[in-house]
Amino acid sequence: MAPGMDGKPVAVKTRIYTHPYVLAGLVPLVFFLVFYFYPLAGIFLRSFVPDFPAHLHIDLSFLDQVAGSQRLHHIIRFTFWQAAVSTGLTLAFAFPCAFVMSHYQFKGKKFLTLSASIPFVLPAVVVAAALDASFGRNGWLGVLNIRHPLVLIFIAHVFYNFSVMLRILTSFWAGLRANVQEAAAMLGAGPFQTFIHITLPLLMPAVWAASFLVFIFCFSSFGIILILGGPAYSTIEAEIYRQAAHMFNLPVASFLSLIQIGFTLVLMGLYTAFSRKAVRFAPKGSHTNFKQPEKFWEKAAVTGNAGFIILLCLFPLAALAGKSLVHEGQLSLIYYRAIFDNPASSIFHVPPFTAIKFSFIFAGTALAIALVTGLCAALCLNHLDRTKAKGLAAFFDPLFMLPLSTSAVTLGFGIIITLDRPPLNLRTSALLVPLVHALVGFPFVLRAVLPALKNIPNNIRETAATLGASPGKIFRCIDLPLISGALTAGAVFAFTISMGEFGATIFTASPRTPTIPIAIYRFLGQPGAMNYGQAMAISTLLMAVTAAGFIIIEKISLRGIQQF
């Protein structure tokens, strides 16, 4: 918990570094040092200095392997290329949709936002199944004959990241005060000129920020590449997995991880720079008035937008649900009934409610940890930024985003060799799953909360202070209510990431605590038509449960989740 929340009055103006908000920053810092940097340092040390501590000989023999490998060079190039193309496509599709979503109010808008968000949580194997159900040979859109792995990768990446891009652009666009555009019109700028000279330049920080984020996601894409891309396509992340898990070539895996972390740091630095700019232009708590579509082209735009989101997001999901409901050409609930059976009476059979229960417990715990650490980090960074320690804020900001694209295998191996003794013997603890999930959810909370905090004018706090409010009171009565919407947005992302996360879960999977993705994987791992149908049924359950999770969290905070 953040110091200062205890409500004790702090009468004297404290120095920068002992300010409660700065001390709050220690919470995420310790969290990161223990659960991220320490394991990574451990695995890198083991990889590069194999005889540590007996000999301090740095073994760089693997460099020849890396330098001489055409294949690795190709993989690095391909990783960048596919991320760039995927990001460009996502932007191209999300941009017009963001325009419609940020300007018009229409029936079913909430439903569209919700259905666009669901793909984000689905495990890659389910996404692959969903795409197969819609674009596959006998899928609903099989006639389109989309078979090329690259095309499928791009569709999957757009499918995944569309909602992230849409959310960021929509909230920013909706917040652009209409009067700036009206002022341009009054000065003789037509709609097109207004867009080019006013709207677009003002949107650019959000466009850059969203693009960097999506780029990083695609850059570290793993499951999608592995399943849809087939063996011919490999990203750095997939290659790390191959080198570490299959070849047990730790030096090369670690080296590639370092490259990946380095690139991510650079990208993150750019991202935070742009989102800082975005904050400066952001509106100050304006209430957006959505229009009803009236003119023909407005109606056409709204319809087109809805049609596209339905086709991109809803259609594959529906195709997947459809597959779980059709048995030998007939509508049937047989797969749903079957998931409750355990024909081999295996101890690893996962009863669906158990899986749902543990998914919720893990996601809830991860959400709690991510919220607390993310909030503390945001408070600290915001305070540093407002005081003279801007450099410090600019240093930590990108650093905190690293878990987004750190290879799960590398981190997992690191945890095995470092967190292996009491009091931190977490290797086999059920707590490890939510901890690792929280590590990935944390950047989302931070990214959501930080802009909201920055938008609170300092004079509000100062006013409260002069009225006798202690820092704790100011936090409770001023900051917290004003950022509750942003907190909710971060919470939704942290929660959903944990619901769909698979890599880290299987890594620590104790049969006592199965989650929904584990259950899906379990069914897909065995031959037999019933198993496949059951996997589709559980995937459908995961979508339903995730949607329910979204709705519950939105209900908790009434302010909606537009602020991410």
């Binding site: 294949r71 063996p231 715990t365 959400l367 095995i416 086999t428 907190l487």
Partner: protein, 348 residues
């Protein structure tokens, strides 16, 4: 209700549930580290606990390769007492890293001697399965085409574009099938077989799931009637069918040294605190109770020759008389080289 009050309540609730996740039994506990495909039935687990006299935790740690790598990384402070699931393609890596202690369990004499690969008895065979080509019986009947009889058939023009295999770098049946071709055609000539296979339109996917559920005509809407899977897969097709058919929908190709035998071993990890319990557990793994549970749980064959097979196995699963084989030390020495050669030739 104020939103942040609600959020705080949720957080507190979850923090309160945390101890539930970490409570541990107070009695002694034996931990078995294994891979994702490991399974056993509830009744056998009960017997297992009784036989060992302790609680049993099963730590599934990724696929066979990952699980072994984790065991190697945690060698000095092991996460488990017993490791199950080193196969004959990884046995060299396991023994080189000196992970296991010698123990000859009860029931050792009943093991099929052809399965024994470690003369110091650090790793004891528990089960085996044959990786081989599976084909869609209905498909071949409809096309009036004879199913393949051996590996050589795959490069005949009649079988163009019919086969899907797994990437040996990422899939254990894929690796086993590559080893089958190396054993069958020799270290120098196997690659020319693969080149011809490539010219004949073989499809390569990353894992068993993508091949079986994504491409195999008998299990998916794919268009590949030949897939690399296990000789016991037809039995699983029958066992997991909604209505049990009399004959399996899929057939297997196991003649002419076209199947590679995967043998799974178990051993007691060095530096374990519970070596006494682990020894009892090793005994149980070879007992009839566990061995007869293996087929329907993992769809492989028990190593104990005295164990009876279930009906569905007797009827629908086949055992290869003359499997392809390679000495483990040769596999261990050449694995990286073969994988590299294969990758360069097939994925370029």
């Amino acid at each position: 209700m104020k939103p942040y009050a609600a959020v705080a309540t949720v957080i507190v609730c979850f923090i309160l549930t945390l101890p539930m996740l970490t409570t541990r039994a107070l009695c002694r506990e034996l931990t078995i580290m294994t891979h994702d495909s490991f399974s056993m039935s509830e009744s056998v687990l009960k017997d297992f606990k009784k036989a060992v006299g302790a609680d049993i935790t099963i730590l599934r740690s990724g696929d066979a390769g990952q699980a072994l790598n984790k065991a190697i990384l945690s060698k000095n402070n092991p996460m488990a007492d017993l490791f199950f699931g080193v196969d004959n393609t990884f046995i060299g890596r396991a023994l080189d890293n000196d992970l296991f202690i010698t123990y000859t369990p009860k029931g050792f004499e009943d093991i099929d001697t052809s399965l024994l690969l470690d003369d110091k008895n650090r790793l004891i065979p528990v089960d085996f399965g044959d990786v081989c080509l599976n084909y869609d019986i209905k498909w071949f009947k409809a096309k009036h085409l004879a199913p393949p009889a051996g590996l050589e058939d795959l490069i005949r023009p009649a079988y163009k574009d019919l086969t899907v295999v797994q990437n040996p770098a990422t899939s254990s049946p894929g690796l086993a099938f590559l080893l089958a071709t190396i054993s069958r055609f020799g270290e120098n000539k196997y690659i020319s077989f693969w080149q011809k296979l490539k010219a004949n339109g073989v499809m390569v996917v990353n894992g068993w799931q993508e091949a079986y559920w994504g491409q195999f005509t008998a299990a998916s809407k794919g268009d590949r009637p030949i897939v690399v899977s296990y000789a016991s897969s037809p039995a699983a097709e029958v066992f997991y069918a909604e209505q049990k058919p009399d004959t399996a929908p899929t057939g297997v190709v196991i003649e002419n040294k076209s199947a590679f035998r995967q043998i799974e071993f178990a051993g007691i990890l060095k530096n374990s605190d519970n070596t006494d319990l682990a020894k009892k557990a090793m005994d149980f793994l070879l007992s009839k109770a566990f061995q007869e549970d293996i087929p329907l749980q993992m769809f492989v064959f028990p190593a104990n020759t005295k164990a009876n097979l279930p009906d569905v196995f007797l009827k629908h699963a086949k055992i290869t008389d003359a499997p392809a084989s390679l000495p483990p030390e040769k596999i261990n020495r050449n694995r990286d080289k073969w994988l590299r050669e294969w990758t360069e030739n097939l994925l370029r």
